[in-house]
Symmetry: D2
Subunit: 375 residues, 4 copies
């Protein structure tokens, strides 16, 4: 399977008025397009309202941001530098800029969001570093290919962009999750060759819920230097945490963020979202529901004649190859999802179905029933 074709702008956006918007709301039960079509989860919306009291120092000097740093230290069992930002693309770009000089190169998977879905944001933030994608079966870096890419590059001298960072995606773009052993194997190779390690954790909580390990085990104890931790796909309004485990990498990060226009003047509203997301394990509860719904969906699809699931279901994305008539049938039944690029040689159509923190068993069963009805 070759390349992630991404989340295109939906062609059938609802009409631009509030009533149409509310009608669109009714269709949420049939929307499997992405985790970011969801509304904000109630706890996080409430936290924004609770933060809306009184004056607060601007630009991150507020108590919510200070509280966030303490909370992350607790959860990740280490004194990391934490920078709340708005989007995963910004978080990834900032992280890579701290790991890779302008004349450097970043190794990543060929399906990586940073190389396929961010319109060159890593190149913008790093001032022109190169991404070097490696092929893989399911978005997880193959240690043998990584070793080969690393081998001998140091002897090439200044003609070659300097390999400076490895970026791994956990969970991957295909819904697979690195085991801790796999993760450590690739980070060991990278660090042994002098590279820093970035983790794109847009669906970090889903992977964490799947593995059942600690946040520390899946990050700095496994050789990760910087984590882009995403909350927006899992219930937040717009909130990501850039977490830098290696203090040297955090130097001047505020200036990197400021000059990109990513420091909120009213930053309390960014930090408050993340605090609510961490409170009472909301992040994990949300992730577990999304993962469970994906498993329920996958089990149902496997019972469907003609359906093939090319990837392991280890987070909240389900890729499935279905015969064209079934795909059309789902579309006609009002379901929203993306057709992916079907690999050459595969019969049928590859589609992606994403489950969310607010997906219910009824939503899943409804889709499966629709599919059976079409078939």
């Amino acid at each position: 399977m070759e390349q992630n074709t991404g989340e295109q702008i939906s062609a059938n956006a609802p009409a631009p008025d509030a009533q149409a918007a509310r009608q669109a709301g009714e269709h949420i039960r049939k929307n499997f397009a992405s985790d970011n079509v969801a509304p904000v989860c109630p706890e996080i919306l409430a936290a924004i309202g609770e933060a809306n009291v009184g004056a607060a120092p601007s630009y991150g000097a507020d108590p919510w941001t200070a509280g966030l740093k303490a909370r992350v230290a607790e959860i990740f069992e280490t004194d990391a530098a934490v920078f709340p930002v708005t989007t995963g693309t910004a978080s990834n770009g900032l992280a890579l800029s701290a790991l890779c000089p302008p004349w450097g190169a970043v190794l990543c998977d060929e399906s990586a969001h940073i190389d396929n879905e961010e319109c060159g944001a890593p190149e913008f933030y790093t001032h022109g570093a190169k991404l070097r994608p490696l092929p893989s079966a399911d978005g997880r870096i193959d240690p043998a290919l990584l070793a080969r890419a690393l081998n001998g590059h140091a002897d090439r001298g200044f003609h070659l962009s300097k390999l400076s960072a490895l970026s791994v995606t956990q969970a991957t773009e295909w819904g697979a999750t690195y085991s801790l052993e796999h993760l450590r194997e690739v980070t060991d190779l990278a660090r042994g060759a002098g590279l820093g390690v970035h983790m794109d954790g847009a669906r970090f909580s889903n992977a964490l819920a799947h593995l059942g390990c600690s946040p520390a085990d899946m990050t700095w104890r496994a050789g990760v230097d910087i984590l882009s931790l995403g909350a927006t796909k899992n219930g937040a309004l717009a909130a990501e945490a850039l977490i830098v485990f290696d203090p040297v990498r955090a130097v001047e990060m505020e200036r990197r963020i400021k000059r990109a226009g990513h420091v909120w003047s009213k930053q309390r509203f960014l930090s408050a979202q993340l605090l609510a997301w961490f409170a009472d394990d909301l992040w994990l509860r949300n992730a577990r529901n999304a993962n469970d719904m994906a498993s329920r969906l996958a089990r149902g699809l496997l019972r469907q004649p003609g359906a093939t699931l090319p990837y392991a279901i280890e987070s909240n994305e389900v890729f499935v190859v279905l015969p064209e008539p079934l795909v059309q049938g789902l579309e006609q039944a009002g379901y929203d999802f993306y057709r992916w690029t079907t690999p050459p040689g595969v019969e049928g159509v590859l589609i992606r179905l994403v489950t969310r923190y607010d997906t219910t068993p009824d939503d899943i069963d409804g889709l499966l029933a629709s599919l059976s009805a079409v078939a």
Copy 2:
């Protein structure tokens, strides 16, 4: 008066827990540090809650964003391209990148936020363009100095960075407001020399309320190509509208925004803030209150022996020179504000007092009473 020393991180941020935060809330009546220490105004917070229904297409294909474009067209009486973004720094950087090539230069006032408070964001977004500050009395570009800067630059050939844009700030960093005549005089000069015109409108609504003219009159009819329209300082959570009047300048703006990581996946929550801000003239009502409170404050200060107001009060900022003991007295009375760089030769201390959409006459009278008590 020489240079804006900016909004430093407050040294006495409250302790990082919710109770302390609530206590800090009580001090809001004495906080004149900035317009962005304020909470979100209730109408905008409510609009965020109302937008939180159902699924919405991500990345700007939602009905709120479509509605915003229609609303802006109505308000500005023209079919402009509109891009909601999170911060004024991003909005300014994006605007300048569409007006000035990497080898170009932007003329601006020496007090301009883009040159003094954004840690090089314009240079980041333009890929290295140069800012050329011009001196002024109160942040408004002097037509004579502008003419002189423009004169003859075209003959200098490729050794010189190409003068490509003029950036004006309305209202200025010192609280003054360009008249329409003044504005047109400088934009005519700039456009006559082939430059594009950007308006930093972080306090656009305050200037608009002061002049009482139409948004169209203060922008494209006055020769402005791109407006960075700020809502955050005037009641929003985090929302600015980048408005491009010249369609040629809007080409590929989405890609500029995307690669900077400034496209929200759940963009409805960005657009909904702006829709609420425009609804029922909220933006103007908020601005009028802030302006009125600044005038009330200024009138009171002028009655205070030893106080000097170096600038016209034409928006919501009051700069005042006070004897050091009075400034200390205010600080000891619990008031929050910034000490500015006092120009050489001036006796006393220059401080900045900012009024807001939620400042009340009692707040003003309280400060004036404290000042009298100290004096």
Copy 3:
């Protein structure tokens, strides 16, 4: 065959004194490391001396540079913009910066010098555009793979870097040469999809001598927008001509060059080299000799048992797989050349032998005799 491992810094550079340097001169007959280890050809050195008379306007306003523009117009049968620069890396970077915006992507061959040997210069000059390498058999873009890469990219919206340029290398890094038909096939595909076309002509003269066509036929008539024409590898001291056939692409090129520090103050000495190179067909005579010597070498190698030539010999590079003992034997006999990355599964060692304008039949026969003696 997978990836060009480039021209590493030679480990055995001669000692840093003039005598040693002169001794190194004696070894020139055994040096097949690269075309750029050669001295300047006498006609070009003489032209530099002849230009060294009197005062000349600086920064390109000299008569040699004006003469160069006229000469190029004559040779290429069109009124192109011509910019003499020092290195091929600068010329390529400048060309791509005029074809591809910072948020764009350039399609090229996986062996391309721009992606493998220039330490990210294209990314530097374009301010962060992405290179998208396509696999090939011998460095020539495969039309089918190109068509697939182009297909559907326009529908992806702003998440995807915009495909903006195709870069072809003529002759390729593996010594093969595009036929005019092949060239037009790929440029037609690219232009049909809205991309500009760049030709890296570091060995343009060798390809031209091989094909025997006109410079116009191999460039703008074949759909090329910008040519990086290299003279340094074929006899010049340090001189390349950046030739822009599409006048729109040449706008502000002087400023691009100036801000990169590539405008010579005494530019007459750059232009004079190129004028001499074009005079009396020197460029083609030099190229023909280098090509002929490569053919002679290839014919000899094919008679050598155990030797395999993986690529067509269509310029002045000869790649050959030899048994390790033979490679060592050549090294011990004092020959200078590069060991390349031998593709997996291939027995023996891949080496590169480069012939030059000053390579003689005796040099070739000497190497072949040494090889026979070792075998």
Copy 4:
């Protein structure tokens, strides 16, 4: 006196053929436009010819480059890193990129070449750092103004571009030369505030000849971290030495140079120029002649009624204010020079006359005689 208007492209460039060029050669005796209109001095041209023997390793691994490093160590009495490049603009940009991060700022004089004549090259190389010009009487940084600019900047936090480097020009753009005491005073201030120090030495040899001190005294012993040492204006074909005294600043400089396309494949011809320039004190002999001719010219001008020399004559540039009829008279007599921007309030016309390594007493006396004839 306000701003250097630079070296414009001469409008009356000779016609583009060899004969016209030779005629232009005859006018060299009347050309005072710039030091870079001169031909290459014979010793350097000869050295290029002498280097043109045999094969040499490419990209700087040649013995000439190794010899250059040894020679610089000897001359500067320290083991500096040395990188030969083609132009002063490249050298300055590279130096600043090693001293100042993208979010940083460089303090320089308002007349500095880096801010006025390089089309944003420092911004290109630093990826968007800001230049902060300081006013001065004659291009030499005023310690009091420097101290004021440095004062308090560290407390401003991340909103402000980080002051990272000071760039001084020796000799200045106005022909004045820093004394060692003045130099040390400003570098002490800069270093005390954590800034690195760059010296733009386009006319370093002229300043050195004027002061009569050692190269070490005028650089690293005076607090300079990186020197851009120019030879092109003083006899070379195209050669500048980037000399890095602080080894930490030299890390990855090769990659910075390579990705800018400034590594020559035949670098021996770059290093050979510099070796010849240093040999037998050629650089100082050339500089002394140029300086002496400037002094002779200045003495003559002072005898001319109506002439005013606004700056000290401490290198090879003579700025003089003359009545318009005299300036026109010189032009009509065939003299070549630049009219500068005459400061407001000054009567007459400010022109610049530059003397060179090959200027003769007869040239000077001829100009003075012409002037007397006109007057």
